[in-house]
């Protein structure tokens, strides 16, 4: 009888072990416009980092060409040519500006994350003269690329927030932008500047 009781206790004590799996930091976003920071390429386990550099895109118009309607190519001081995804030389500098990134989220695919540009009304010089930001446009491509660009060609608005691209969840997205100044008006001589801020908004 004692033996039978002991066996009964062992039998009822049989159990299963439960571990709780908790997603930690399931949301991640990365946006790179110009230079960025990664510890290594994605394919070799790279981790994204912060980079506070602000790159410049500029054009110098010869006095004889000012306002002649011939678009002037703009160049950048960005040195970003290689994709941090695989190290492939995707953009060519100084003619192209790299833009790329991703957003990670758990669960089923969500609505795309949006990349917006916050644009001032105009570029200004020290004397207060202005050139509308809409005088700057860009084309979009990438070395060896095909298909639609996640950050397509476009032009700036004259002040406001505009959408410049989108990213599906859990995908790497990148394009190379080639900017140009339309040069179809005659502003006063000077150095005109303005800052555009790019923002990634994930659902």
């Amino acid at each position: 009888m004692i033996g039978a009781v002991l066996i009964g206790v062992v039998s009822t004590a049989a159990s299963a072990y439960t571990a709780t799996l908790t997603p930690t930091s399931p949301l991640m976003v990365y946006l790179q416009v110009g230079v960025g920071s990664f510890t290594n390429n994605y394919l070799t386990g790279g981790q994204p980092g912060n980079n506070t550099a602000i790159n410049t895109v500029s054009a110098t118009v010869a006095s004889a060409a000012v306002g002649n309607g011939t678009a002037q190519p703009m160049t950048t001081d960005s040195t970003a040519t290689q994709s941090y995804w695989d190290g492939y030389t995707y953009c060519s500098v100084p003619g192209q500006l790299y833009i790329g990134g991703f957003y990670r989220t758990t669960g089923a695919a969500t609505a795309a994350a949006q990349v917006t540009a916050t644009v001032p009304a105009a570029l200004t010089d020290a004397a207060g003269d202005t050139i509308p930001f809409s005088k700057i446009r860009w084309t979009s491509s990438g070395n060896g690329d095909s298909g639609a660009e996640p950050f397509p060609a476009g032009g700036f608005v004259n002040g406001g927030v505009q959408n410049v691209g989108s990213m599906s969840s859990n995908t790497w997205n990148e394009s190379c932008w080639t900017f140009s100044y339309l040069n179809n008006s005659v502003p006063p001589a000077g150095t005109f500047t303005g800052v555009v801020r790019y923002t990634l908004s994930a659902p």
Binding site: A19, T22, W85, R104, S169, T171
Partner: protein
């Protein structure tokens, strides 16, 4: 004379084979879930992180992984002084396919199991009432299947020989 003897042996040979087949089919090992109530996790939960921080271009890289250390203590008293085969069984469960791999400290075998399957962790004589080891687990699950914390259940089971 010899030519006549050979046919006479054949029925006995086939009969012996038939017996063997019948014996084999009835010798199924009995499987019993082992009491693992003495098992303890060294961390309260398993933090799941993206296996790669950045995604691929195709979006196919959505694996999340997490590690934890579990002190396994199973009660094998019912099989003391017998031989058996112990398996780690990871039943099919929500939220979907899960893979568990582990590295042992030597008492059990290191291994890997996909949900819905089991993997051998020990085979041999049962010489003590309890068997213990510390297993460092890594769990892997598709991040697109999960939104929040979820339980994963596994157990050990004995096949008696």
């Amino acid at each position: 004379m010899i030519a006549h003897r050979r046919p006479a042996l054949r029925p006995a040979f086939f009969l012996a084979q038939a017996f063997c087949i019948i014996w084999a089919s009835t010798a199924q090992a009995k499987t019993t879930t082992i009491d693992d109530s003495g098992t303890q996790a060294l961390e309260p939960s398993v933090s799941m992180r993206w296996k790669t921080a950045a995604p691929s271009r195709s979006g196919a890289d959505t694996l999340m992984v997490g590690t934890t250390t579990i002190r396994v203590r199973i009660n094998v008293t019912p099989w003391l002084r017998r031989s058996g085969r112990i398996y780690l069984d990871l039943p099919a469960q929500q939220p979907g396919p899960i893979t568990a791999s582990w590295i042992s400290q030597g008492r059990f075998l290191s291994g890997q199991v996909h949900s819905g399957n089991r993997t051998l962790v020990y085979a041999g004589p049962i010489a003590s009432p309890f068997m213990e080891d510390i297993l460092k687990f890594q769990f892997s699950v598709d991040g697109t299947l999960i939104r929040r914390a979820f339980p994963v259940t596994f157990h050990f089971e004995m096949d008696e020989s």
